[in-house]
């Protein structure tokens, strides 16, 4: 068994308005003069530390927890699960 850090990003699905991201873009970044930025989206990240036999098992386990416990609301959000060596 090895330890892994699993990062779960919970993000609203495309098309759902994100007033916080829009405010950061329009009232901070664009006003700061960096016109190269066209979009900012807010998200929430949970960082799990888990002991599993390999990266694949760590990813499957965390994905299962997120689905079963509704860590995200599937009506409105998607998650991405990334695994790193701890």
């Amino acid at each position: 068994m090895a330890a892994f850090n699993v990062h779960v990003t919970i993000e609203n699905k495309p098309g759902i308005s994100d007033p916080e991201g829009e405010t950061i873009l329009n009232d901070l970044v664009l006003k700061g003069g960096d016109s190269a930025i066209s979009k900012i989206k807010t998200a929430k990240m949970l960082k799990f530390t888990i002991k599993e036999k390999d990266k694949k098992s760590a990813q499957t386990k965390v994905q299962k927890i997120c689905d079963e416990l509704r860590i995200y609301n599937p009506m409105v959000s998607n998650i991405t699960v990334e695994v790193f060596d701890a």
Partner: protein, 226 residues
């Protein structure tokens, strides 16, 4: 006829709800702490507003897994009237008892205002004394009150007559101005505004009668006052 008021860590409208049920409408109400079950002799269940678990993760997401929710789910299946108000609505949604999601208001503000609802379904246990399209002056008090459903679910809600209340004007960016919905059977109702803060003339400067009818509807459904 007994009404259960479920209390979660962080509920803060439980006593207002209990007061209205008992002192205003003379119902037999009882508090139930979230980590225990519900007795079988309960005729209706109300999940009150507040900030269960401090809105951690997101509003209602953690309370939706409290042990009492298993019993609420069983009662919902049996057709017992269940009402979720504000955080109670968020909990019912996160428990999957009602469809959708509640997102941060478009303004990003905690909104504490008087608003006006339109009754869209007067067949539920909590709206059967109201007239269709009747207006209800009522306060809202929430930060995550923007009801969201995808297009497919919205079609289903309309087809099954599951939209119970709409705001009379755009308030917080909710899909189709939805303020309250019910399950397919109509016995589980969730709403963001607070009828318990509007059912008495002493605290309702506009008109307390329409909000009173939400509780009168419940009495009409579960039986006479004690």
């Amino acid at each position: 006829m007994k009404v259960g008021v479920v209390v979660f860590p962080g509920s803060n409208c439980d006593r207002d709800m209990y007061h209205v049920l008992t002192d205003v409408f003379n119902l037999d109400a009882q508090y139930f702490w979230h980590d225990k079950g519900l007795p079988k002799n309960i005729d209706a269940v109300i999940l009150p507003g507040g900030f269960s678990y401090g809105d951690r993760l997101r509003s209602g997401a953690i309370a939706a897994h409290s042990p009492i929710i298993n019993d609420v789910r069983k009662m919902a299946d049996k057709g017992i009237p269940i009402l979720g108000v504000c955080n109670g609505f968020q909990i019912l949604v996160e428990a999957g008892l009602l469809p959708g999601a509640l997102l941060k208001n478009t303004s990003l503000n905690f909104m504490c205002n008087w608003t006006s609802l339109i009754v869209e379904n007067n067949k539920t246990p909590f709206t059967n004394k109201l007239k269709l399209h009747q207006k209800i002056p009522i306060p809202i008090a929430n930060g995550e009150g923007r009801y969201y459903v995808d297009d497919e679910t919205l079609k289903k809600l309309k087809k099954n007559n599951q939209i119970v209340f709409r705001y009379s004007e755009v308030v917080n960016g909710s899909t189709d101005r939805i303020a309250g919905v019910c399950n397919e059977n109509g016995n589980v109702v969730g709403m963001m505004p607070h009828p318990e803060r509007a059912a008495e003339s002493a605290i309702n400067p506009i008109d307390n009668k329409p909000s009173s009818l939400i509780f009168e509807s419940l009495i009409n459904t579960i039986g006479v006052k004690n």
